[in-house]
């Protein structure tokens, strides 16, 4: 699966896609493949404040719980309602239907420090090399 060039990516494998004043946040294909079968997603409520680098929810696979870290600060305007019944969307379509939350960004300039698609692909390729070394 490709990594959309217009998304921005964190080292912790979250993505953020800004359209107008709204940023959509999700986890990457690499993240879902590391997690394995996702069975439960815990998301913040509308109105919750996210703070860059802080945990704002959890994704559970059969074997473990993983925290999701905010790629940027802002206020949650929507949480993906599909995920409570279909957590597997995170596995099947992590960059699309498996989105987590939409956020009104507090400071869009924060995103400048994140990776673009090409940089993220290089980053995970490096991780893959370390893992099989």
């Amino acid at each position: 699966m490709g990594y959309p060039a217009n998304f921005r990516y964190t080292k912790e494998h979250e993505w953020v896609n800004v359209e107008g004043s709204v940023a959509t946040i999700g986890i990457t294909d690499y993240a879902q493949s590391e997690l394995g079968d996702v069975v439960f997603v815990e998301l913040p409520k509308v109105g919750a404040k996210l703070e860059t680098g802080k945990s704002f929810g959890n994704v559970e696979s059969v074997k473990a719980v993983s925290e999701i870290y905010a790629p940027a600060s802002g206020e949650v305007s929507e949480a993906n309602p599909e995920l409570s019944n279909k957590p597997e969307l995170l596995n099947s379509d992590p960059h699309g239907a498996g989105w987590l939350v939409k956020v009104k960004l507090a400071n869009a300039a924060e995103l400048a420090s994140l990776m673009d698609g090409a940089a993220y692909e290089a980053y995970i390729a490096q991780k893959g090399k370390e893992a099989s070394a």
């Binding site: 912790e12 494998h13 979250e14 986890i27 993240a31 493949s33 590391e34 997690l35 394995g36 079968d37 069975v39 439960f40 815990e42 959890n58 994704v59 559970e60 696979s61 059969v62 074997k63 473990a64 719980v65 993983s66 925290e67 999701i68 870290y69 409570s84 991780k127 370390e130 893992a131 099989s132 070394a133």
Partner: protein, 394 residues
């Protein structure tokens, strides 16, 4: 996000099949100091592996398990006496070719480790022990058999151990051995040629709650890989998949089989663990017996129960358990979504007053307390098949 998978670390121990797992693209984790596959994306991942074992057949590398042989010293009987002293089940009841679930205990009646004791000969036993407790166990066995006329051999690195598990396991393995598998009953074993290797131990044992076998082949890498690949090839028509420790854990949890460091450990005694039926107080003295005899006079402080979350959420290892009034009463030892039942199951220690089926409890999942209740165990039990003929009649 943070993941449980680990990158390769040179200090981790590796089984002879390690390179093969990596070639298969397995996700590897540090399990008790061992670099082990947790799941194989090429098999479809944990859920698919779990379902393959319940419905067909799966295979596991369990070479990280340790093996201790205790056999005759100068005079016959010394090994049996040593095993009886070391373990809580009654090894004298075993026929040659039979195995039993047992445990080694500390003098206070708590667990050094759980073991499977195989009777290889009249005065010859093989103890299969856990990976994470290998060194401790071997030291414990040496220390506590010093006064017995027996020979203790650590064979842990001598074997590659492969578990073939599931209702079709017998069909797969039968294609690879001259031994007649049909008459071997659960917890019995035989020796036979496997994949051309003579005199291999073939045991009808496992850790999945399903029918299956564990085979012991020499730990040489090329031979081990050849056996693994032959099993894959033989199992292809039955849909065999390699399975990792992730599925091994969910399978054993559904069957309520104890995991050292979780349901049993050095601070949990036999009565609390509910493993009473494997502890034979009447067989004579053994390490831990006196403490257990004393403990049985007092009421139990806690007992192991199965629970299921009623509200959304997964109770996991270490999560705290509360009564409905909000009083902390216990702790979850293992918990997971159950792939077979599609419910969130867990084992927990609670006071006996809260052990009745249907008792409402709460589990603290992160900052929230969610509703749960006590349910019957095992969570999963395989359908009974007509018992095969006794081993001797074949």
């Amino acid at each position: 996000m943070d993941f449980v998978t680990s990158s390769a670390q040179t200090e981790l121990r590796k089984t002879p099949l390690n390179a093969l797992h990596r070639k298969l693209g397995a996700k590897m984790v540090n399990f008790g100091g061992w670099d082990m596959p947790v799941e194989y994306p090429s098999s479809g991942g944990l859920m698919a592996e779990h379902k393959a074992v319940r419905g067909g057949v799966g295979m596991f590398d369990v070479s990280h398990m340790g093996d201790i042989r205790i056999h005759t010293g100068k005079t016959a009987g010394g090994a049996l006496a040593a095993v009886q002293h070391l373990s809580m089940n009654d090894a004298s009841k075993l026929a040659i070719g039979q195995a039993q679930y047992s445990a080694m205990l500390y003098p206070q009646g708590t667990f050094v480790d759980d073991v499977i004791v195989h009777r290889l000969g009249e005065d010859d036993f093989l103890l299969v022990i856990n990976a994470g407790t290998r060194e401790k166990d071997i030291q414990w066995v040496r220390q506590n058999t010093a006064g017995f006329d027996c020979v203790v051999e650590d064979l842990s690195d001598a074997y590659t151990q492969i578990a073939i598990q599931g209702p079709r396991a017998v069909d797969v393995l039968q294609k690879l051995t001259d031994a007649n598998l049909a008459p071997i009953r659960n917890y019995w074993f035989t020796h036979g040629t496997v994949c051309g290797l003579p005199n291999r131990l073939i045991a009808r044992t496992g850790y999945t709650g399903e029918d299956g076998f564990e085979i012991y082949v020499p730990s040489e890498v090329a031979a081990s890989e050849a056996v693994w690949n032959s099993v894959i090839e033989a199992g292809r028509e039955f849909g065999i998949v390699p399975c990792g420790l992730g599925a091994r854990n969910t399978l054993r949890l559904e069957a309520k089989m104890a995991l050292y460091g979780h349901e049993i450990g050095d601070s949990i005694n036999v009565w609390e663990s509910g493993l009473d039926r494997y502890c034979k107080m009447e067989k004579g003295d053994f390490i831990g017996r006196l403490a257990l005899a004393n403990a049985s006079a007092a009421p139990l402080k806690r007992t192991l129960v199965g629970i299921e979350t009623v509200e959304r959420g997964i109770a996991r290892d270490g999560y705290r358990v509360f009564d409905p009034a909000g009083e902390e009463i216990g702790v979850v030892t293992s918990g997971s979504p159950s792939p077979t039942l599609s419910r969130n199951i867990a084992l927990a220690y609670v006071p006996p007053d809260f052990a009745a089926i249907g008792t409402p409890l709460c589990v603290e999942v992160r900052s929230q307390r969610i509703k749960a209740q006590v349910v019957p165990t095992p969570f999963y039990k395989r359908a009974k098949k007509p018992a095969p003929q006794a081993a001797g009649s074949a």
